[in-house]
Amino acid sequence: MKYSIFSLAKAALTGHKGWGRAWRDAAPKAHYDVVIIGGGGHGLATAYHLAERYGIRNVAVLEKGWIGSGNAGRNTTIIRSNYGLPGNTGFYELSMKLWERMEQDLNYNTMVSQRGIINLYHSDAQRDAFARRGNTMRINGIDAELLDKAAVRKMLPFLNHDNARFPIMGGLVQRRGGTARHDAVVWGYARAADRLGVDIIQNCEVTGFVRDHNGRVAGVETSRGRIGAGKVGMAVAGNSSRVAAMAGLRLPIESHVLQAFVSEAIKPLIPGVITFGAGHFYVSQSDKGGLVFGGDIDGYNSYAQRGNMPVIEDVCEGGMALMPMIGRVRMLRNWGGIMDMSMDGTPIIDKSPVDGLYVNAGWCYGGFKATPASGLVFAHLMATDTPHEEARRFRLDRFERGAMIDEKGQGAQPNLH
């Protein structure tokens, strides 16, 4: 049933008994044209785009738990396209354009909310770096504004403007940035892909790859049996190395834990997304009223989906330094997600050295905002065997060639990206 206020009102008359499953509970078939490993946002978006744009509908998405149980359901829901390096800029803007039409494309309210994002700067050097980046955005047709001190004070009067250790000097604003409801993105893609014939198979963990006599990947072994596949794509950020290892691959990736936080619900306080430039803290407020915030990764390899106190304190210190009005607001929940930290801070979307296996990995902590574009370009790659124009630099061999895309300039040190 199509979702709308009319169908909702109609359903209300019958006590909402008429709604069916948002997506089918599919059992695995023996063979698919394409199998996507990973029922997160990226995997589901890939399946959707394969079916919708490339006409490949005999597709299965395999999820070891429940869809959206990885980083798709653990992030701080920020969307933005304020990147500065070739390769990233165009890609994230493609994503932003897909966000802007997502609800209509999917017939699902994913609550894409362009309330704006501001990166604050606290020094001349930071301002200059933001100016370079903002100009890159503008040259690429992306909205960006550089605000001075007075303009930031006017826009966000509640920040600590008067006795800060590192006074706010201004900010780089992208008004089209904002947030989206992360779980809804997963469900929206699942429902839309399902309607196009994609099988979404939950509780189905991939345990190995099936190879043909040429060594080509011909399917996967799973906890629910062998599933044949013409092509296999992995979209399992956080666990990319573990899945790749089943195919004998080592990746330029480390898994690190990133913590995120939400406060008790309070009446509207913060309009858009704010990132602190003198500490590790960023924050937005959900429609429900909770402050959603985060900071730096814990800094050590981890698959444990939980972190430790030093970073929790560091994040809250940043928060109090930036907006001391949140002192009495209580942290309600704190969790950890496992990030695919790549060696240059930029994702990898490419064919793997193993024939028939395609890699979508290395999202660091930027994966959520990339969801729609990641799905589109990965679908393009798998459907056409050529990289999508906007993902042509996200190659696996860029490290061997020296063509890193290193926004932070931190080099091959994943925990610094």
Partner: protein, 993 residues
Amino acid sequence: MASQQANRLAAGGLIDRTTPLRFSFDGKTMTGYAGDTLASALVANGVKLVGRSFKYHRPRGILTAGSEEPNALVELRSGARREPNTRATTIELYDGLDALSQNRWPSLGFDVMAVNSLLSPIFVAGFYYKTFMWPAKFWEKIYEPAIRRAAGLGRPSGVADPDHYDKAWAHCDVLIVGSGPAGLAAALAAGRAGARVILAEEDSLVGGRLNSDGGEIDTIPAAEWADAALGELRSMRNVRVMTRTAVFGVYDGGTYGALERVNDHVPVPPKHQVRQRLWRIVAKRCILAAGATERPIVFPGNDTPGVMMASAVRTYIERFAAVPGKRLTLFTNNDDGWRTVESALQAGVEIAAVIDARKDVPARCKALAEDDGFALYSGNVTGVRGGKAGISHVDIGLANGRRTTVSADTLAMSGGWNPSVGLASHHRGRPKWQAEIAAFVPDGCPPGMTVAGAANGELSLGACLRSGHEAGASAAADCGHAGAKHTAPAATDESVAIAPLWHVEGKQKAFVDFQHDVTASDVALAQREGFESVEHLKRYTTLGMATDQGKTSNVTGLAIMAQLTGRSIPQTGTTIYRPPQVPVAIGAFAGHHRDENFHATRLTPSHHWAAERGAVFVDTGLWKRAQWYPQPGENDWLESVSREVLAVRNGVGFCDVSTLGKIDVMGKDAGVFLDRVYLNAFSSLGVGKARYGLMLREDGIVMDDGTTSRLAEDHYYLTTTTAKAGPVMQHLEFCRQVLWPELDVQITSCTDQWATFSIAGPKTRDLLREIVDPAEDLSNEGFPFMGVREVQLRGGMVARLFRISFSGEMAFEISVPARYGDALARNLMIAGKPFGVTPYGTEALGVMRIEKGHVAGPELNGTTTAADLGLGKMMSKKKDFVGRVMAGREALVAQDRQVVVGIKPLDKTRRLRSGAHIIPRGTMVGPETDQGYVTSVCYSPIVGQWIGLGLVERGRERIGEIVRAHDPLRDEDYEVEICNPCFYDPEGGRQRG
């Protein structure tokens, strides 16, 4: 005063009737007693309606008596101290307490938003995912602002928190969480054995349920036993009892987070005291004795004010001598609920009826009903009549199919007890189902944790005491404190028999999650739509995501889902329990790290002197550096900076450069070591010489630069940029310790040991001769460019003198022990007066480095190679060094890379700005024509215009080319010339002269 407290019992309770306290709720003044919580005082004053729910704005009353309260949330205090969403059940009453109900307008009694309740047929779980999509533009403009205004609960103050927070560490052998019977027994056992014990209790009183449930321990009343136990614990030096301290998280390595509410029970923290303190408790062993939480039954109308947890009714009566109503009904599925009837009877409350859902009600209960003459129904509550003023009648569906109604003003409900498994599950262990008590108990606890008492599903008093005692003794033994054997305190094992009951169908809404308005039919809708996983259920319906963290709703919700899907409860499983176990103020995690104290401040040796001269300071990492020294009559910074530059170029100036990282590298192999970490050679450097060095990361990108001097055969002195002092030190230690421990070399950071000033300008020697011993030869021959040596100053002090120049002028850097930096600055001013000596700041320093084309932070941006910086020729071809191999990758040696060039606007009056991009003339602006950007700029008083450095594609081949500086952010676009990066004295004659 006390007469107002209509529902206060004449006697009893752990309250201090000699200390009446005035408080106000929604502007109405009432009184309570010391020892009350806000909730108990409201109960004593007969207040039923205390809050409004999140979505439907339904009227709500107090449900519980503890930190799991979902309904009775208030805005506590006012002004900057206003604290939203504070649980009335945990607020200790103080005189003058001021609280407001929240999430209602205009008043709690008449809330306009209650219209949402009428729309509830549409506002079902997840309705917003299905609508608000057309037209697309309306989301941000119309729908979302309306939703945001309606959502949220309390209002934050909106201004800076005026209170302080503290952080502290504590270490112990055994941490015991909770001071109920199990916790006290554990503390006694561990403490008597000699272990270092911390007993943490979130309440202001120790005792837990002993304060509410009565009973006897070791043949004396439980309260007396608890008093004696506390007395004994307080007498032990190895035991620390921490009340008002909630353990909220279990982290790795036996680290526990706890929040102490130091001064929340007073109106304002006393002067110089903190409001709350964050504890990091490191414990070898932890005993979780956090008890259990009674769970509601999901029946129609269960959210009507006047419906209260049975255990809470008991607590209000026993601990606070406050009765929630005059005519009580009880709806229970277990024996424990019946204890509330006993309490109520003793307090003289009339029992209207007991509705027991079990097929077989124990004979003891039947006898009680008979003896006391109240009705006992076998059946379920199928509806509640009444409204915001409270309940009036309870509808009952009898087991025999008939219906009946009783009038009552209070309905106590007991669905059984959920052990507090939260902390035990913080390492992602999943609790296991225990059918006998129809509840989850901990499993897969974090290392070092054991669980005792009700938290472990041992619900009777006797069992609590025994398991607490055992856990305490064995935890102490694990820590090497066997101690003498004691016997466990003894008590009877009262019956806790239960027949699970989760949901009673009916016409009215039956709430699972009270605060978030999640009903049983919402759970059913989620199931119908395929959101069957408990995590999907939670996320789709928001069940368990309210401020009570699902303490009253999670298990019930998943049990209903299990019924709907036909799976068992353990198959259905729980959601993940996440810290913090109780919500914690963000300010507590930050402690004193806010405002100016957010991070430490490092001051240069000449800071105070510079401050006296009115210097403007700039933050450089943690350092405060003098940026420029304004003089009277100067209108802006540019005037000051240009004056400083010209003073150096024409006379002499000095600048504190102590912030540069300084590292002593000593040992026989120091030269070899430096050869390996720098791309150029240092073993060949003569003693008494300095050399500029460039260091790569292992990936071939430039890491840092600086000058390194050889002070002796086996002693080098290395400098880094200010920003990279720490990372370079760490890197060098890695190279020394991990890669090449066979080298005989030691490295020590001495950044803080030396005060260093750059003295620059044609009159530098004149000035130096005034402070250096006349015997020292400072002539070009006696002290050539890039020479280094120790010199004696007038007065006898020894300083290090380096003839190096960042400004391009004849210059020296002089280093003295840091404590003499201030004196040296003052002496330079005095000695330099005849030469017009001018202190200069980091801006002038920056201007002169740009004029000279020296690269710095903006060019060393972590993506540039030595060749990009124009320093490729420095790379030694005779040795291996860090980064050599990776620097040779194809894309890093490509011909079209962006390289450092000089840039100047054609219009000499035009200001050049960093961050402007370089676009070829006559082309369309776009990503394809974006060829680089301006990295550093300054106004050069020597060149007489704004100049800069930039990174430009093939830049070195394009010297002289005119291109556009495109700066859409600042709405600028102008022509600039690509030029040689050195704008001043390219031959270098001045610095060598």
